[in-house]
Amino acid sequence: MPSEHKTGLRWSNWNLLLILPLFMLITPWFNQDEPRIFGLPFFYWYQFLFVVLGVVCVGLVYVKTKDEPVVTGKPDKLGVDDLDEGAN
């Protein structure tokens, strides 16, 4: 149905949050034993914290982009003739 004018991509700046969890791949930041919490070395509890961070990031993107109107990327440039279509 070509009547729906939509481009292939939608973008919201909230999507940038999805990059944040990837920072857990930088191992030198957390490859250490101390400080321990409940006996768990830093290496382990630091990564468990990222479970929460991941959920918060994805959850925020979901909630914030739920009702977003479609961003077409192009301003609405209907010709005068198109606008008058109903008048004919």
Binding site: Y44, Q47, V51, Y62
Partner: protein, 544 residues
């Protein structure tokens, strides 16, 4: 023979068997004689069912025994399973809803269906389908390894062909109800599986550490064990050489997971975009579970758990350490529940994987090349038969071939499936890549990846080839030139192969654009990728 465990296990196994057969009537559509119904459960699963189904699908029995076993053997490196399953959801959140929408509009059942629609090339689709089937088969076989680890821990540790009999019976039952009920069977059984798994892990993670002096003591014991081994690569922290391997293995595995046909089956079976999005938020609950479970590998060190010797191969099987840990430290009835959790945990993914492989065979090989005029009912029939063949192929693999071979194949499967990323995932966003370039890139990535895996040896376990996925950078050579010298820093092979794949694809695309080669016809419309369940453009379910 451990009778209490066996009785509890058998009772729960019987329960899911009954559920598996009754599932055919659950939320029944007009007919089961259509792939939308048999292969995708009617494409109408809501958030809860999808959560249990996809959770039961991604976090398999093999994962539950192999990850702690890796921690037990190698230490911190085994913990890659946690970052892997955390970064997974942010990575796939956006592409998956696009895949759902476009598949819903055009009635695609498999990723290869999408590729065919997007590029108008049944050859490219065939490559994707074959990659999917080949990568999935050893994965199914590995579920059997998980199931068998449990059966052997319960004393069903016979030798020779007879030793595999319990496994064969379990799989025969699974094959029968999957044949009858299709995707609805694993969807219903997943509820039991996941509830049992949560129960067992939570009890294990609270009860066991206190029994062995708390986490501090457990980590110290693990460190002491790793210090005593000659290997420098193990320990409760990463070493200088395996940090890059840890990060790239997590990333590569995350990129690969939803390229596996069975993962996508769970997504396509869901009702709408919001179901998928909610699940991307809720599925990490399983990751938390997996992380906790991984730590049981260290608990097993403290507990002095010894892997039992597999009578069929004559070698100690480290995959038995979690069942052994449970068996030695829980009362028999609870150990029975724990074994059932792992055992049923093998059935759910095995069923979904065999359905996904059967869908690929039916849609992209049978209908494309063998019987073009197949009706939907004939397609469903073909898929049911294919699911049987796939399952018995997997059993034959475990029985007649050394299980180690399945593990090697699974390793290769991960690298293989990653090579479909440009044609499946990138194609969701752009058709910039030329169809020839995708084929060329696939061959390059596949060939180079397999070659690199071949070069990886590990003298410690007496293997000269296919000894793992950790490639020393020094092994990489470009026609004799070693860009990284003799570096021992390790990296995941899949990432290198994907890089080569993309590089070749870019170069060939540039050539193709210059030469103005025809790039196939695109059946999809840009707006297809945003269609939701209430849109009139979605294809009616189980329509011709």
């Amino acid at each position: 023979m451990q009778w209490t465990e066996l009785i509890v296990f058998s009772a729960l196994f019987l329960l899911v068997t009954v559920m598996g057969f009754l599932a055919a009537r659950w939320q029944k559509g007009d007919t089961l004689e259509h792939l939308d119904e048999w292969g995708l459960g009617g494409r109408k699963f809501g958030s809860w069912i999808t959560w249990f189904l996809v959770g039961g699908d991604l976090y398999t029995a093999y994962t539950f025994v192999a990850v702690p076993a890796l921690m037990f053997g190698a230490g911190a490196l085994g913990f890659y399973a946690l970052p892997y399953t955390i970064i997974l959801y942010p990575l796939v959140f956006l592409p998956l809803v696009r895949m759902w929408s476009v598949s819903r509009v055009h009635g695609y059942v498999t990723p290869a269906d999408f590729v065919k629609g997007r590029y108008g090339s049944h050859w490219l689709a065939l490559i994707i389908a074959v990659t999917g089937i080949v990568a999935t088969m050893p994965y199914i076989a590995l579920q059997l390894v998980g199931l068998e680890a449990v059966l052997r821990s319960m004393g069903l540790n016979g030798s020779g062909i007879l030793g595999h009999l319990p496994l064969f019976i379990a799989f025969l039952i699974l094959a029968l109800y999957t044949y009858q009920s299709g995707l609805r069977a694993p969807a219903l059984i997943a509820f039991v599986k996941d509830i049992l798994i949560y129960l067992v892990i939570l009890v294990a993670i609270i009860y066991l550490p206190s029994k062995f002096g708390g986490w501090g003591e457990i980590f110290n014991d693990a460190q002491a064990k790793f210090d005593a081994t000659p290997s420098k690569a193990d320990g409760i922290l990463l070493t200088g050489t395996n940090q890059l391997q840890y990060a790239t293995l997590a990333l590569g595995s995350a990129l690969a997971l939803f390229l596996y046909p069975h993962s996508l089956t769970g997504i396509l079976a869901s009702r709408g975009r919001n179901v998928i999005k909610r699940n991307m938020v809720a599925l990490p609950a399983y990751s938390l579970l997996l992380g906790l479970l991984a730590l049981l590998g260290f608990v097993a060190i403290s507990a002095g758990t010894k892997p039992i010797v597999n009578q069929a191969t004559g070698r100690p099987d480290t995959n038995t350490i979690v069942p052994e840990l449970f068996g030695a430290n829980f009362p028999s009835w609870f150990a029975g529940i724990a074994f059932a959790a792992i055992g049923i945990g093998a059935l759910v993914p095995a069923a979904i994987m065999s359905i996904a492989a059967a869908n690929l065979w039916t849609r992209n090989v049978y209908k494309e090349y063998i019987k073009k005029a197949a009706t939907p009912a004939e397609e469903a029939k073909q898929a049911k038969l294919a699911s049987l063949v796939v399952k018995f192929g997997a059993v034959a693999f475990i029985v007649f071939v050394d299980p180690q071979f399945s593990i090697d194949l699974q390793l290769m499967g991960g690298v293989m499936i990653l090579q479909t990323l440009p044609a499946v995932a990138i194609a969701l966003y752009t058709r910039w890549f030329h169809v020839y370039a995708l084929v060329a890139g696939w061959f390059a990535g596949m060939g180079y990846g397999m070659w690199l895996l071949y070069t990886i040896g590990n003298p410690a376990i007496g293997k000269a080839h296919f000894a793992g996925s950790a490639l020393p950078l020094g092994n990489i050579s470009i026609f004799g030139w070693h860009p990284f010298g003799a570096s021992t820093t390790q990296i995941y092979v899949g990432i290198i192969a994907l890089f080569v794949n993309l590089l070749v694809a870019v170069v060939v695309t540039l050539i193709a654009k210059k030469a103005k080669w025809f790039n196939g016809t695109d059946q999809t419309d840009p707006s297809d990728y945003h269609v939701d369940e209430d849109n009139p453009r979605v294809k009616p379910i189980a329509a011709h």
